[in-house]
Symmetry: C2
């Protein structure tokens, strides 16, 4: 059986879950509290992070390397476009969310509000929370600018870039940190992606100690 | 004229410089002190980082998205192998160096010893320097383990993974932070990559205020 070692509120795990589900690759989800550095987990994964994908006899790490592998080994449906220019734009945006958005928003809001508590590293630092709340506005505005010109974030077809963005935003939505009233086009985009069958397992996530808002799993939010 | 906005001791800039040079794509190098957030630079590059590649009428950002684009648009010589499994291994290792090695080693040693000074953010934090000096040993041992089984880091052909690793190590070597006596196979690997024509421009780098050690540009170090 294929297995994904993941953590429910890890955006990198969610990105891989979305790609696996779109490509109809079945996996058993195994929750991994990776910060506890369980020796068995570290043996499977010297990088010590989630997600880790056990696929047949392979053990794969790094969410972007996993997604590129899945795209090459399971090309249908395509989540990367054909031309080098369009593929570049998808990869640029995946990196935008996984690096820049993560550093400026996800790590600040999730890091302070969720991981402090589950990792037991003290109270949230309100300066970080404020910085994250400020930064997400600029990112939503950037997404609005992109979506004013395109059907999906990286072009006219849905791609990995949409999954990377939705992975981060869905984690933040779980803790009520996304103001969906800020942008009609971003809300419409999220409604489209949220209603995909691939998204269902994310909407069913429950993290002990953190109750998602009522609109979290609601397709009409 | 193609242009690369870069910083000499940015490992991400160096990785792209190596890939451009291997593929014989000529660029003019423009030094960018990206932390000064020059408005012209930010207009070209909302992510505010180096490297940025101006290639014809395109402006490309994110070092890994740039390298994947260059591989697709200029496939010769190939810096990614053919099979999905082998490509995965290259991408996993590129991410290993650009994320994990960077977080544990480069950001600690370069960050404290170089960027504190050039950015004017105070004295080096010796706890970080110590942590980086400790962590590089484990990484050199991991490289030794890989190179005991393979000619190059990701397999029997030279790839992006070697350039990612050499980009970080060459920055650290500029500030004398690599103990080449720790591993014969890593030293041999670095000697091979250092002697490539693509490496010449990196060995000629001079950063004001930081004098590289005598062995830095020496092919027989």
């Amino acid at each position: 059986m294929n297995r994904l070692y993941h953590y429910a509120l890890s955006p990198y795990s969610r990105k891989v879950r979305l790609v696996l589900a779109e490509k109809k690759i079945e996996v058993e989800l195994v929750e991994e509290k990776y910060w506890e550095q369980d020796p068995d987990f570290l043996r499977r994964n010297p990088a010590g992070k989630v997600p880790i994908l056990k696929l047949g006899n392979k053990t794969l790490s790094d969410s972007s390397a996993i997604c590129e592998f899945l795209e090459e080994a399971y090309p249908d449906p395509a989540l990367l476009p054909k031309s080098a220019d369009a593929r570049y734009e998808v990869r640029r945006l995946v990196a935008w969310f996984d690096d820049k958005f993560h550093a400026e928003v996800t790590s600040k809001l999730m890091g302070e509000r969720v991981f402090r508590k589950v990792m037991g590293t003290g109270y949230p630092d309100s300066a970080n929370v404020k910085a994250g709340s400020r930064a997400i506005k600029y990112h939503l505005d950037y997404m609005t600018w992109l979506l004013d010109q395109r059907r999906w974030l990286a072009g006219n077809d849905m791609s990995m870039a949409d999954f990377a963005a939705a992975a981060h935003l869905s984690c933040l939505d779980y803790i009520s940190d996304v103001d969906w009233n800020r942008s009609e086009v971003v809300k419409d985009w999220y409604a489209k992606i949220k209603s995909r069958p691939a998204f269902r397992s994310l909407l069913a996530d429950q993290v002990p100690g953190f109750l998602p808002p009522a609109h979290y799993a609601n397709l009409d939010f």
